[in-house]
């Protein structure tokens, strides 16, 4: 914790390893949220015979 973080430097981009990892994890989380179904949602919608509205 007391040691300085590793930094990456590409041209005008300067970013620490922790910040880079955090951004990548957030992107992965966002993509997963788009692709993965919400548990139980499809089952309930199918049992009601609904797919479009409340």
């Amino acid at each position: 914790m007391d040691a300085p973080a590793t930094y990456f430097h590409w041209g005008f981009i300067l970013i620490s390893l922790p910040n880079l990892v955090l951004i990548l994890v957030m992107i992965l989380l966002f993509v997963a949220a788009l692709l993965l179904p919400l548990p139980g949602h499809r089952d309930r919608a199918a049992s009601r015979g609904e797919g479009d509205d409340e």
Binding site: F30, A33, R42, G51, D52, D53
Partner: protein
């Protein structure tokens, strides 16, 4: 305030007890005339725009069944933990959060719940940005969300300044030049611990919380925005029937 019309005066008893005493007078529930005054105007507007059915819905449109719509709720949950842990820290003081193990635990709880708050707020922002969440009359909801994001950044900044450790001193000494370059240094002195602490534990948390409440009420007022490509049709309000 203008005098009530003769018909109003006849229908509306000045005191409900008078109505019960005089059996010839109409009951207060039979009043049909529209009441005037700002109190009645605000009440009527709230009843029309925010009926309880809209504020506390039991069902949502099917498109809300997505993880993307969970990010906003998780952000609110993180904010609850931020406020709760911050309240304990404020009650116990800096010596407690630096020295005792329980104090360090609450200090870490406060810090990491703030990290969760920002992470999920940004994920919520991404979802609303690429989903164009400002559509169909929701521009004010979007703008309040932007203000929450900006105020939260300043709140977190003051939090870093009041840790009472070398890190906060380092941040304050560096930040003073940035703040002074904007001309705000005379009003927002990052080297003034009392000012930063007061802002961090009182003004900014109250502001963020009130804005979040307003944001939620705005979302409930118009409902969750439809996905892009879904044909827009105004949803009927309570008591109305869909054409």
């Amino acid at each position: 305030m203008s005098e009530p019309s003769p018909s109003m005066a006849a229908e509306v008893p000045r005191d409900p007890r008078e109505a019960s005493a005089d059996t010839s007078a109409p009951a207060i529930h039979t009043v049909t005339a529209r009441e005037t005054g700002w109190t009645a105007a605000i009440r009527d507007r709230l009843e029309h725009r925010l009926p309880l059915r809209e504020l506390l819905p039991t069902r949502q449109p099917s498109y809300v069944g997505s993880w993307v719509y969970v990010f906003g709720v998780v952000t609110i949950a993180a904010l609850v933990w931020v406020v709760l842990s911050g309240t304990v820290l404020a009650l116990m003081g800096s010596a407690w959060w630096h020295i005792s193990s329980l104090g360090r635990f609450f200090n870490s709880l406060h810090f990491w719940s703030v990290q969760m708050f920002f992470i999920f707020m940004v994920l919520h922002l991404w979802g609303m940005y690429w989903g164009a969440g400002w559509r169909d009359g929701r521009a004010k909801t979007w703008m309040v969300g932007v203000v929450i994001f900006l105020v939260s950044i300043v709140t977190a900044f003051t939090g870093y300044l009041v840790q009472q450790n070398f890190d906060s001193q380092w941040i304050a000494v560096n930040a003073k030049d940035a703040i002074n370059s904007t001309g705000l240094g005379g009003f927002f002195n990052v080297l003034n611990f009392g000012q930063m602490y007061g802002l961090h534990v009182m003004l900014f948390p109250i502001g963020v919380t009130l804005l979040v409440v307003l944001h939620i009420v705005q979302v409930r007022g118009r409902g969750v925005v439809r996905p892009i490509g879904d044909p827009y049709r105004p949803e009927p309000r309570s008591g109305e029937t869909e054409a």
